[in-house]
């Protein structure tokens, strides 16, 4: 019996399918990301699991119990909202303690668990502050502590890092993963950011137009995307034309190498060059069409625009996608 099971979960608004036949099984302790562009149905799926949106069809089973139509306040799930949704009129401790009060946990026990949860997110010194006195990252951690303190079977994260600036977001990604592994709570995160999904998840569910397109480990999703769309959504890609009737072929920019003109598989002219710090980014024009290539900045001199270079790759890195599946 899987820990969490979504069975053909569907949400329909009029004639529009926001979520269509989404099926997914999650094992205990797993960290799953729902990844996709906005409007792909990932948030609606999360809200159906949380109980804020009623499923039109299908079932949600948690530990074997059907919770599809259970009221939100009886599910006992931990949720971190995109806006954090902290109670502005309660202190940090008050926020974290709220869920325990609802469970009628004794006062002494509450104090102990609140303290423990705040220590977990490194906010034990901030218990008496109010949310408005905290930074974005701190609020985010209060929201996490508040969700975890009730020891939920399942933790739901709705774009938890999207309101943080880039640097903090990266740091929080790792912290989130560390905390999740410490407490071992099964977690489902919604995000539109592939880097975020890849760095923290055990498995990624890629969604598009309300449907699940691929469920795989981050590495598999990146290296073996099931569709054109996924290939482009999770990274940059070069489409290599093939003979008519043959499937489309793809290769990622970092799998291409620049070699001396004539010694590669094809010759190309450098059209544009951008410096990204750790790497160089080239736009090339070739007989195969436009190519993008990223080359690690190993200290050697870059190619100047206008130079003719050779482009080399390993055939093993070339991906073939079934046509028409985009």
């Amino acid at each position: 019996m899987p820990f969490l099971e979504l069975d053909n979960l569907t949400k329909q608004y009029g004639h529009l399918y926001a979520v269509e036949n989404v099926s997914l099984t999650v094992e205990q302790g797993e960290f799953i990301s729902l990844l996709g562009p906005s409007g792909c149905g990932k948030t609606t799926t999360l809200q159906m699991i949380a109980g804020f949106v009623e499923a039109t069809a299908g079932a949600i089973r948690l530990q074997g119990r059907d919770i599809t139509h259970a009221p939100a306040n009886s599910r006992g799930l931990g949720i971190v909202f995109q806006s954090y949704a902290l109670f502005p009129h309660m202190t940090v401790a008050g926020n974290v303690s709220f869920g325990l009060e609802m469970q009628k946990v004794s006062k002494a026990e509450r104090a102990r668990r609140v303290d423990h949860a705040l220590t977990l997110v490194h906010l034990d010194a901030y218990a008496d502050r109010y949310p408005r006195e905290l930074s974005g990252g701190q609020r985010q951690r209060v929201a996490l502590a508040r969700a975890l303190v009730i020891q939920p079977p399942l933790l739901l994260l709705d774009e938890p890092l999207s309101n943080l600036d880039a640097k903090l977001r990266e740091a929080m990604q790792f912290e989130l993963r560390n905390i999740q592994q410490q407490v071992g709570t099964t977690t489902i995160m919604v995000t539109h950011d592939q880097a975020e999904a890849f760095s923290v998840s055990d498995r990624v569910v890629v969604m598009q137009s309300g449907k699940v397109m691929q469920i795989d480990t981050p590495y598999q999703v990146y290296e073996h995307p099931a569709t054109d769309f996924i290939s482009r959504f999770v990274g940059k890609t070069n489409m290599i034309p093939s003979a008519p009737g043959h499937p489309q072929r793809h290769i990622r920019p970092e799998k291409l190498r620049l070699v001396a003109a004539g010694s590669g598989r094809v010759n190309a002219t450098v059209a544009e060059r951008f410096f990204l710090g750790s790497q160089w980014f080239y736009h090339l024009t070739s007989d195969l069409g436009e190519l993008t290539v990223t080359i690690p900045n190993d200290g050697s001199a870059p190619q100047a625009p206008g130079t003719v270079v050779g482009v080399q790759w390993d055939e093993a890195n070339m991906r073939t996608l079934a046509e028409g599946r985009a």
Binding site: A50, A72, A85, L86, F87, F98, G99, M102
Partner: protein, 264 residues
Amino acid sequence: MPRNGALALTFNALVVVFMLAPLVIVCLVAFTPENTLSLPGWSWSLRWFEKVFHHPDFMTSFVNSLWLASTSATLSVALAVPSAMAITRGEFRGRGALEALFLSPLVIPHLVLGVALLQLFSHIGATGSFFWLMLAHVLIITPYAMRLLISAMTGYDRTVEHAALSLGASRWTMFVRVTLPMILPGVTGGWLLCFINSFDELTMSIFITAPSTITLPVRMYMYATESIDPMMAAVSALIVALTATTALILDRIYGLDRVLVGQR
């Protein structure tokens, strides 16, 4: 920040003088020792205030007004909270029309409401009833509470309520522990605004008060049309003081600029 020129500052000073002059003169004349409306020179006196406190009609009306304003403000807020809640979060037919109806007393002249209610009261024999007078006040002050509460309720993050539900709170607990505290400034601000508006109301009340229920503004209006002596100034000065105090509290609780200027 661009700066204002001398001309602009003079203009502003004149407007300020214009706005404050009638209030200042009322407060000054209240302290006159003379029997006529005159500015106190070197000698100031509290005799007219004393006279107010010993004037049974004014005192009765003052108590009437206080009582009327507090009961009607309370009832008005009690009606406005659920209605504003339904209007801001409900998805039902006629929501816009309902909101327009609840705000409509703002665009109906109080005079018209006064004569209309006078007729209703004489039909149903409610003339002289404090209860019906209070209902009339509730009608005209509810839009103020409604407007404030609607803006307070639209301006806040509903996911906070979802958070409470996800943590196991019942709907009622959610309302009491999360929703209500968050809209509390709007509720108290609305109450005070209702209180002031009810306390000041003249035009409608003059038609529907009976000798036993005469409110302070009506009493003052009648007094002023017959005789003018410094006692009127003393009553007015007291009202200015009372209003200023309420305004200060209102400012502390909700922000006077938000109450007066509004957000929508």
